[in-house]
């Protein structure tokens, strides 16, 4: 506006990532697909560098730049750390799978990088405009990733389905943004908050706009009733891509949702709270009940992730600082469980290729006990049974809900977790109680073993030692959200 360069320091990691990704793109273009491995490794390195720069140079103080479009604070640092982690692991897991399926293209790690960049912008968005830009950068990369295995019908179908429905949701989102802007005259969250704080209550147009905005965002976190795409996309996409979908973008979209609602519409808590409560209950129930009848483990994980998003939304529904803190704890634990579970799915290989049915896990405890124990840890943790990390997530989420007076929500959540427990137990039953139907072929690679092992350790009772620092970090992050 005034011709001067804005303060670039708060966005330094994003700038490094953007430029680095371009450089790697050029590198890949000149070297061709043989450079897949190098580009992958360099991409992971680049993500690590950005994470370190973010923690050391940017830090947790609240800084606003680009005319209030971009904000960084402790909350952003926490969420972005998870995003970096999820993206790096997704690239790490993909190497052998993509090579074996003949789709080891250097574009894969680059698309992950660009999607990550979009997510970082989403997390830092302080304006409805930058929100949309970040979201679209992420979504477009994800559409391509879903259709990565373009010779396989399921994969292209997944990509197309994701794209069509995603475009629809983006449309709703944009329509909502335009309504909000039209009726309130503001795009920036802080300004929106003050302009909506009047005594006469928000204009009806803003409420309608907010509903559209929430619908669009609910699609991105795959909350019911905007979850239809999730099972098909999870099932059709190549497994490492699914692992990526289930982890980092969920974190980013949740962070975006939290910041938009808490910073942008604090005065309309009563309006959005009931919507969040509804989609949270609906997600928990659909996640619990529909997953009962799944036979494909990737579809099952899709419904499981819908349910878990429902639990995380309980924290947002509480609308309190404790609720946001719980949500962040939940997301961090969810990330380790999901990445671990998908890494384990990547080890389900027979001589004729990957298998994805739950029945294929039969007797895993007799053929590969460490893997069976690791999967059991993930399943018990996802089910939220004490002794494992998943329980802490549920504890803090429902603690916040009860504190906010949402006791019925907590009761429904717990009851649906009992229903959900059944299908997690079923996987354990198949692995431990059933007769073996033949061992899996080894050779899933060290990266998969490493991720499974690390995630299993993090979710095991060792989490008793780690939970205290995590709670501290989440409290620090939630405290920065302008309460």
């Amino acid at each position: 506006m005034n011709g001067e360069l804005p303060n670039l320091l708060p966005a330094l990691p994003e700038l490094i990532l953007a430029i680095g990704a371009m450089v790697l793109l050029m590198f890949g273009v000149f070297r061709g697909n043989s450079s897949f491995k190098q580009v992958s490794n360099l991409s992971i390195l680049l993500l690590l560098v950005c994470a370190v720069v973010m923690i050391i140079e940017v830090g947790g103080d609240r800084q606003v730049t680009f005319n209030g479009m971009f904000v960084t604070d402790a909350f952003a640092v926490f969420a972005k750390t998870l995003v970096y982690l999820g993206s790096a692991v997704a690239i790490l897991l993909s190497g052998r799978f993509l090579s074996e399926h003949g789709i080891a293209k250097f574009e894969y790690p680059l698309l992950v990088l660009f999607a990550t960049l979009g997510m970082l912008i989403m997390v830092s968005a302080n304006n409805l405009m930058s929100l949309y830009v970040g979201l679209e950068l992420q979504s477009l990369s994800l559409y391509v990733l879903a259709a990565m295995n373009r010779d396989r019908l399921r994969s292209t179908e997944a990509g197309l389905k994701y794209f069509v429905l995603g475009a629809l949701s983006s449309g709703m989102l944009l329509y909502g943004i335009s309504l909000i802007y039209g009726f309130s005259g503001a795009m920036e969250f802080d300004v929106l908050a003050t302009s909506l704080a009047g005594d006469e209550g928000p204009a009806i147009g803003v409420v309608v706009g907010l509903v559209f905005l929430l619908s669009g965002l609910a699609f991105k976190v795959s909350a019911v009733p905007f979850h239809m795409w999730t099972p098909d996309v999870y099932e059709g996409s190549p497994t490492p891509v699914t692992a990526f979908f289930a982890a980092a973008p969920k974190v980013a979209a949740m962070a975006l949702l939290v910041r938009a609602l808490i910073n942008g519409f604090p005065g309309m808590l009563a309006e959005w709270q009931q919507i969040i409560i509804f989609i949270s209950i609906a997600s928990m129930l659909v996640g619990a009940f529909v997953a009962l009848v799944q036979t494909n483990i990737k579809r099952l994980m899709a419904y499981s992730s819908i349910g878990h998003i429902g639990y995380a939304l309980v924290g947002l529904a509480a609308g309190t600082q404790a609720g946001i803190e719980a949500l962040l704890i939940y997301l961090a634990i969810y990330l380790t469980m999901t990445l671990g579970a998908f890494a384990a799915i990547l080890s389900m290989r027979r001589s004729d290729g990957m298998v994805e049915n739950i029945e294929d896990l039969a007797g895993l405890s007799t053929t590969n006990l460490p893997m069976a124990v690791a999967i059991a840890i993930f399943m018990f943790s996802l089910a939220g049974i004490p002794l494992l990390a998943g329980f802490f997530g549920k504890w803090f989420i429902f603690l916040a809900a009860v504190e906010a007076g949402l006791v019925p929500l907590a009761v429904i959540g717990f009851l649906s977790s009992v229903v959900a427990c059944y299908y997690y137990l079923r996987i354990i039953k198949v692995m431990f109680f059933d007769e073996s139907s033949g061992a899996f072929e080894g050779g899933h690679g060290q990266a998969v073993s490493f991720v499974v092992g690390t995630a299993a350790v993090l979710n095991s009772p060792i989490s008793f030692l780690l939970i205290s620092p995590l709670v501290g970090a989440a409290a620090w992050a939630a405290g920065s959200l302008l309460f």
Binding site: L399, V418, F432
Partner: protein, 510 residues
Amino acid sequence: MFFLENNLLSLMMIMPVIGAAILLIIRHKDQEIEKRNIRQVSLFITFVTFLMSLVLWAGFDNGTAEFQFVEQHSWIGEDISYYIGVDGISMLFVVLTAFLMPIVILASWDSVQDRVREYMIAFLILETLMIGVFTALDIFLFYIFFEGGLIPMYLLIGVWGGMNRIYASFKFFLYTLLGSVLMLVAVLYMYLQSGTTEIPLLMNYNFDVDVQNWLWLAFFASFAVKMPMWPVHTWLPDAHVQAPTGGSVILAGVLLKMGGYGFLRFSLPMLPEATIEFSWLVFALSIIAIIYTSLVALVQEDIKKLIAYSSVAHMGFVTIGIFLLNENGVEGAIFTMLSHGVVSGALFLCVGVIYDRLHTREIGRYGGLAINMKIYAVLFVLFSMASVGLPGTSGFVGEFLVLNGSFAYNSWIAFLAATGVVLGAAYMLYLVRRLIFGDLDKDDVKAMPDLSLREKLVFAPLVIVVLWMGIYPNSFLEPMHASVNALLETHFSTDTSHAAADIIVSPAGR
């Protein structure tokens, strides 16, 4: 010794975990030697833990109701801490747990041949969790141990269980979980209301009377399933029948006691008004349980199922005793739990002995065991009598105290509960008649050898304890007095005066 004094409980909990870690690294090229080593290490570890529990008992001060052997370290945030300790109510349960574990390991010596390492690890982890339940003084910690125990037990039933093990393991897990999540909501609420998760502080916090009823019902949902009380007892016969012998012993001996312990630790002291309000409900359900399950036990054809139903009936006595809210009732309830832990454990082991020989639990397939298995017959009759409540055995003292306490409270309750004693004698004697006496006319039963040295070794401590508890119950009652008195006087002093007045001399000879 100083170190031991201060960390005894933690050491008892960590010992089995260390044992499990050792089991992981035991390797030998000869499978048989490897299995033998695994069994010996497990036995050694559980035996050491048992010795530590004896140190705990010896060092326990009977004179105070305060928590002893207390350890506290901050854990999550400012409120939740690693806080453990024992008082007169919980101490003997810890000893009971540690006492049963080596017996269970010894009893599984030959009968478990498949995946021995995993079996022993599951049991050792379970021991840690069970001790944790009885010692936790932080409600969050308690919940973790209480629920966490489901995981090893689920695997034990599912992997090493009988024909219908998958159904039984799922039913066990989901039933218990469903009850517990409701308790979790109550725990969250209590934490937010009082601002603390420490059980001693919560015991003295006065919750709103209206809220108490809801909280009480939530706790009740969990403990009633765990006890189990009629009508949510149906998971128990399935789980018992399908579980391996060791699993049944621990299930009946320790896990069922968690419900009763929960009532004593949470419902009574934290929610006293609601406890009085709902005691009619507990009495009604308990009396139905006693009479109904005793009748059901009469017609069982499966030995394990019969004993499982008798467990439900005995637990009916326990719940009646607890909610009488007088000293005899509560002490009788605790004593019945301890006695039932030993006796029903012993009975399941007895079933295990003949099951290992004939591989059936059907009563009709046996008969006349007194002729060819003389020692076994003596033991079986002894434990059956202890289950019936014959004077001189452990079963008598607890039931007598509970009935005595209930006479002081309401003679109708005492009358109806006493019919349970008669029915109990009926089904146990009927079982003994069919199993031990009668003609020895089946060839495969004739071929069954009497107890081996290992089996005698398993039963010897159980016989001693059953007789000891029956002949000199004071060793077990004395540690309880101070804590039970404090519990009743602090929270129910006005309500129990009329009941306690006319029972000055208790049958224990005090």
